[in-house]
Amino acid sequence: MKEITIHYYASLRDLRGCAQETLSTEAESALQLFDELQRDQKLPSNRSHLKLAINDEFQAWETSLRSGDRVAFLPPFAGG
């Protein structure tokens, strides 16, 4: 099992109801982690509009996870 911390920002934080959570998971990739978390409907069903960061870097959804990783699912940006 891996220990993963997940951070939520803006609308995803509102949807999820928390700014961060730490959990133990067997998810191999960020994609698997998202699917696991999405089952309770407190995340969008479709991740096509989300971006992913691991340890403060943008990453592809297929990136493998390691214990201790900080993952963030990022809603559409709206700076400026």
Binding site: P44, N46, H49, A53, L74, A78
Partner: protein, 146 residues
């Protein structure tokens, strides 16, 4: 230079730093809080950033602008926190030998920052309602579920 700040953006002071004697052209962009958006009257705004990642991505954009266009310097500051109508949310300044490169680089920076830097905006409306901008694409997806 790319910076995230919680303080008011002083466009005049920032503009004063853009100059060098080999620079013929300085182009600046200020994005300000408007009193309306998409037909709704807006009272105020709140910006939030994933700061560590935002600063990294912003610095990358500034570097790209310097490589793509013949400019001397580019600079961008984005404010976060609660902003009122008329407040400057983002400031971009570019100086260059010639004007066209300065215009192109300045527009490049603002376009790229808007699409690539993890910053979010919440609008506050009359009647204590509020809305995260671009969140609709997520809820649209959620409703398609049924």
């Amino acid at each position: 230079m790319f910076e995230i700040t919680t303080h008011p953006i002083e466009a005049a002071a920032l503009g004063g730093h853009m100059h060098s004697s080999s620079c013929g052209a300085v182009v600046t962009f200020e994005g300000r809080v408007r009193d309306h958006n998409e037909g709704q009257s807006v009272l105020s705004l709140s910006y939030e950033a994933f700061e560590k990642l935002a600063v990294k991505e912003g610095a990358k954009i500034i570097e790209e602008a310097a490589q793509r266009f013949a400019i001397n310097k580019a600079c961008c500051v984005h404010r976060i926190g609660h902003l009122q109508i008329g407040d400057v949310a983002i400031w971009v300044g570019v100086c260059a030998g010639h004007r066209h490169a300065a215009f192109q680089a300045c527009e490049y920076v603002i376009e790229q920052v808007k699409s690539r830097v993890p910053i979010w905006k919440k609008e506050f409306y009359e009647g204590a309602t509020s809305h995260w901008i671009r969140m609709n694409v997520l809820s649209a997806t959620a409703s398609e579920r049924f």
